[in-house]
Subunit: 351 residues, 3 copies
């Protein structure tokens, strides 16, 4: 990267205040940026910005006093920085279009234009991949899988037969889509496998972290709705239905047939039993686990899940618990003494 | 799939009630099935079955009134459906026998008949693979590994040196068998690796989910007994010994040298410290963690694990905890007042 | 393996007591070792050693009475055994130097001497790999990645662009280094990806388990310090900074920008919110989760984390909670009775 501030201002719709000819060679955090680098500060970080070594800063139009650096004024500094970061990212991750000679392409495969298919990738019979998608090395795309356009399927990803992936979907390395759900019939003391013949549907703009498992349904479909984002190590059981623009942090695990409404946010390691519903807009704190439906647009915490405020009160009360037990014992002792005193008094009165 | 009801009845040992010539082209859930599809209902779902759009139904011989669809009567509808699903599954996952030209086959390798070895698979020196096993693409089978017959080793699975896999074993994508256990000696402030030279033994009919890690023992063996089933993201430490027909749900993590008895059922995210024993037939609720032995044939919950009934009582009591603290404070106040009143009364009496 | 006891004694700086010409063909645990095998016992296991079937034993120089086996006396038996185990391990995992014909080597790649690069490995443009490192089959080494000397990068590992791996680093199968951190801007009800353009730095002698995810920083760096060891399924968010000689057990998950000091020990499934600091030498019990900084050199447990002693007291108190609720109710009842009695007495006195 090598841009003048004037060039960057033009890209992001900003306005230079200072030397528009200053050249920056990268973008970095306020702490780490050097004099050749651009950084950025929302209004609440202007103080930190003042002491940053960054040569130039993206700052809010409406408030940016007290800064000695060359500035680019804009509406949303972090969002503007993201646009520059996206350009650097695209260059760092560039892969030329083309199909590697060591990729294994099956029969009746439909391939779009300007695709990249990496070394050792396996594209099975009947698969269909859209324009400009990048299928990295050593992936396995099963029979009948459909992948949209502009997707990134990172190395080692496995997508089992007949799953459907939308457009602009990102799947990070070594994740597994459409693996068998976990279902067994107990017959004569043995666990007998229930075949899993459904599939997984992943809608447009979904992002799935590294090392996730999205199980295929036993019958019908597991669905992840448009714009939903999963962090690493997330597990979704068979038949799970996730809404749109949902956020799931790392190590979340949802059992079979769970439903999650639009815009819900699940913190790290959230879990649930099967067949329950987490409402739209619900927010679950880290480590929350639920065995019951949770109505939407509220905050939850704890095992089992309760409203977040109650969980925080419980957690606080828990720290006092050993001491409270002593208080109960002291009360019991005092009460016994009081009873004795009172009995003595009654006897005395009677006497 | 394209069968008449008469053909399906013959396959599963059932009896047609209605039009035996009706053709069905798939099998689906009561909710999702259409008029060309077969569905199934155990006795308790006959009401839902009555309103299903399915063209035909597998239903119990002894009870099936009130249904307008064409029926196949049988002893266990879900089990019968599973037989049909297995056939569909086998077709969807069919791989032709043969060894891919891009597989890397080492020296002194012993290969059975009608094997499939996929593109990019690595079969290391001295490995031994039984008849009809399917070793998918981009797997890594280490030196001296033995795999039985009729196994499915999905893409990206890694099996390290000298591990032994039985017959009819399924290992889902990107799981790692026989990776080093986690052991270090502290020498002069440094963590020095204890080499892990044992192995893993996986017995017949075991199924291991996607993205599991089964660590090799430091010495001797890690063992998973016959018929045991592991969901995705399960971690077994070095030297763990698992009995037969055990069920482990997703994200279970057991530390080194833990023993689990036959038919135990471990819910999602169950954990344990090293060297303890979970008895045969024990059932652990989701999120249970234990630092002590748990006798078999009982239910457990909580961190640390206690009998399930007690855990549920504790969890219930926990929700009252903030309020109970106030009750204690109120008691203390009242008691102080009572003491004062009594003291006044005593003084009055004395006077 | 086939050594006389005299040969082993020479290797480890020990002294034979008994038949130095006795040949042993392996090393095993006290329980599992047979008459042809060597075993070992620290002082506290000498009783178990006496009844072991092992043909020979590594035992402490200063204490070893009551044993009928041939002995090798040494300062630290387990450490001596580890030396022999390391030799067996090296032989079992031997890979000849060389670059597989099916590896894909990019442009401007710098390769050291006596490297192994396995089948299907992808070494991207500008990567740099040091002497004697072993890059196993089906790995993906991204553009500009630097890997030091004497590393082991097991099958299926993915290292994204520009990450830096030190010397003598071990990364177990299917782990993912430098995958995108999890960051989004909410713009108009949509989650818009924040590009992750930082990198990961892994210092010398680090060991990373199987199926771990170490996310690249949004900007600047995620760092794992020298000698730190991670078990399987560990997740480190973007910008995390881990000190030296830290131990992290399986399934640990740390959110973005968390700092962990030198020699800290994190038990299984430990978690934290983002941006907090866990002090040097802190020890966190299994399942601990923290939303606040934890000062170093102390023990912690619980969700939320409290000092370990307090957590154990809380956990103990929790088991009494249902019964304690009954005690409170009983106290309330008795107090009401007492109040009545007292009121009656007062009235009587007045009368």
């Amino acid at each position: 990267m090598r841009y003048t501030l004037a060039e960057i201002a033009a890209k992001i719709g900003g306005e230079v205040k200072g030397d528009g000819n200053r050249v920056v060679t990268g973008i970095n955090s306020l702490e780490a940026a050097g004099p050749e680098e651009l950084s950025f500060a929302e209004e609440k970080f202007l103080k930190e910005a003042a002491s940053s070594r960054a040569g130039a800063l993206l700052v809010p139009r409406r408030k940016h006093e007290g800064l000695s650096q060359d500035l680019i004024l804009c509406d949303r500094p972090f969002q503007a920085a993201s646009m520059i970061m996206a350009e650097i990212d695209a260059a760092a991750q560039f892969l030329p279009p083309g199909i590697s000679a060591t990729a294994a392409i099956g029969e009746n495969v439909s391939l779009g234009e300007n695709l990249h298919i990496g070394p050792g990738a396996v594209i099975s019979d009947g698969a269909d991949i859209g324009d400009r998608s990048r299928i990295y090395a050593n992936t396995w795309i099963g029979p009948g899988v459909k992948i949209g356009s502009d997707c990134r399927i990172y190395p080692g990803v496995v997508i089992r037969e007949n799953c459907v992936i939308g457009n602009r979907v990102i799947i990070h390395p070594n994740s597994v889509i459409g693996s068998d759900g976990f279902g067994f019939l107990q017959i004569g003391g043995r666990n007998v496998k229930i075949p899993q013949i459904g599939r997984v549907i992943i809608e447009d703009e979904v992002e799935i972290g590294a090392l996730c498992t999205i199980n295929r349904a036993a019958l019908d479909e597991t669905v992840i709705g448009r714009g939903t984002k999963l962090d690493d190590h997330v597990h979704l059981g068979h038949g799970v239905k996730i809404g749109q623009e949902v956020i799931m942090c790392a190590q979340v695990g949802l059992s079979g047939s769970v439903r999650v409404g639009d815009r819900a946010m699940l913190g790290p390691r959230v879990g649930s039993v099967d067949r329950i519903t987490i409402g739209a807009g619900a927010r679950l704190m880290a480590n929350t686990a639920t065995a019951k439906d949770l109505p939407g647009d509220r905050d939850y915490g704890g095992i089992p899940a309760v409203p977040a405020k109650q969980f925080l009160r419980q957690a606080m009360a828990l720290t006092h618990l050993p001491q409270d037990r002593k208080r109960i014992t002291a009360l019991e002792k005092k009460l016994r003494e009081l009873e004795k005193t009172l009995a003595a008094l009654q006897q005395q009165d009677t006497a």
